[in-house]
Structure formats: structure tokens, C-alpha cells
Symmetry: C2
Subunit: 168 residues, 2 copies
Amino acid sequence: MIVVLRIGHRIDRDKRITTHVALVARAFGANKILISTKDDKIKENLRSICKRFGGDFKIETGIETKKIIQNWDGVIVHLTMYGDELEKSIKKIDTNDDLLVIVGAEKVPYYFYEAADFNVSVGNQPHSEVAALALFLDRYTKGMWSRKKFDGKIKIIPSNKGKKVISK
Amino acid sequence: MIVVLRIGHRIDRDKRITTHVALVARAFGANKILISTKDDKIKENLRSICKRFGGDFKIETGIETKKIIQNWDGVIVHLTMYGDELEKSIKKIDTNDDLLVIVGAEKVPYYFYEAADFNVSVGNQPHSEVAALALFLDRYTKGMWSRKKFDGKIKIIPSNKGKKVISK
């Protein structure tokens, strides 16, 4: 099981970035996202996408993050530009364990660096937690996103021109 | 040369997503980003990051997108969830040519689908243009981002715990 824990979510400032984080979590193979702050709008939004595009991705908001971390029975990864190199870290992570991936907003308290088994960087340049999560899950799952079936009401057929959509 | 063309940027609504798109472009090996709408704040923000973290990434805003496309001497890729599969498309793109990567905001006019040599999807699920750009550049450059040197005033040393930063 792969769970993404989004911390430091500020409803107004982060709504679109956190939505992208959640959509990436779903599309790249996570089973669930937990968002620190209660935010019914994002929850509604994600559920509507799951209803149409399929899969059994779960979302919960208004989470006691420390409780989740303290009770986590598995590996904890924190994505940060200060972390250890992606390829090096990936080799050390046992993929048989359940995985909690912590994704921060701007300033991440030191607690999370300490709580993580692995602080992992996707490059050490400033970029985006959305991109970092996508690349991390790509490597961790060995590109499983490209083969994953969602069986939704809406299915897009890959095409070099135009839009090919099947609606059940 | 790799240039990212961000179209449909709405200053208020998209400021953070477009900033992430620009930072991903820089971190994952693009040389320049062109943003359709004039936006001095994003430009300032990006230039400040380049000043501190290095590299010679360029940013221009307030662009006549159609002019850029019409005059482009090289390959044009448009990233869209309706596009052809990433791995399949990548094999067809000649990496000796200059590359223009079009990244849309929500609704992309049909013109851009037609103008592109390759409409490419990073999975056919809804997720994020930030993630799509990162994955596309990762595959296109064969993971060059992990070896790229920026020689900035600030350098982060990868580390599994804490923050190791060298400031020149």
C-alpha cells in the first residue's frame, strides 16, 4: 500500500498545488492521500474525478499528521530538495513494506525530517512537490503508472491527433 | 535547445502552477520558458532563483504564441492527457532537433493539437502539467537532470538527515 501524506496544506494558497499532488498520487499508483488540513472542496473534487475516471483511490482531509506517522507500520519517505539522491535511496527502500510518502508545502518542520526513514531528493534544485512525487513514484513502482488500469466510465484512447474518448 | 511554451496562463489563478512549471523546466534541463501572458512577478521570481541556484535558464513572458510556433525550426511536442503514449512517442522524436514543448493550462484550443508534431500523454489520467513536463523531460533527456551542474551560489549536498547547504 502506498499512502501520500500532504502536510502544511493552506486551503487558499495551496488548493491547486495540493489538487495536483492528489491527482499525481492517484495517477502514479498511490492508494490514498491524507491531507493535513480539513478541505471538503478538494475531497469533493477528487471524488468526482475518481467517479468518472475509475480506480479506488481514497482521500481524507483534516488529519493528525503526527498520529499517522507514529502509528505507521512500514517505511516513511519524506520528499525534500535536501534529501539523499533518488536513485541511491530507491535501492535501499524495501518495496514489500507499506509506504508513507510525506510531501510538504513551503516550510517543513524539522520533525518530519527526523520521522522519515528516508529523506529523498529528486534533484537538489528548487522545483515542485508535484514533480518530485511523480518522479519518485515512477521510480519506486518501476513505471507502473503506464500499465495501470482504472476501468472508469471515461476512458481516453492515446492518439497523436485529436481527442479519442470512450464514455460508458 | 529545449524551450517550454506555457500557454493559457492566467495571472491570478495559475501563478503557482506556472511557477512550478517554470522551475521544473529549469531543473529538468530546458533552456528557456516562454509564458503566454505578461507576468513580471513570475519573471522576477524565477530570475531570483537562477541568481542564487545558478544555470543560465531564460524566461520571457507576454509572448505571441502563434508566432513562436509558426517560426519554430525544430520539433514541436504538446503535452496532453489525450496524446499518444510517452514511451512510444519518445522513440520517434529526433533529439538532434531543437525542441519546443507546449504545456497548457485547463482548456487548450484545437490549434495547438494541430500545430504539434507530437501530442504526447504521460498516462491518460487527469493529473498535472507539472508532473507531465517533469516525466517527459526525464525520458527525453534520459534522466540528465540527475547529473546536471548548475554552479550556483547556493549548493545543496544530498543528505539523508538534515540540511547541508554550501553558500558561496
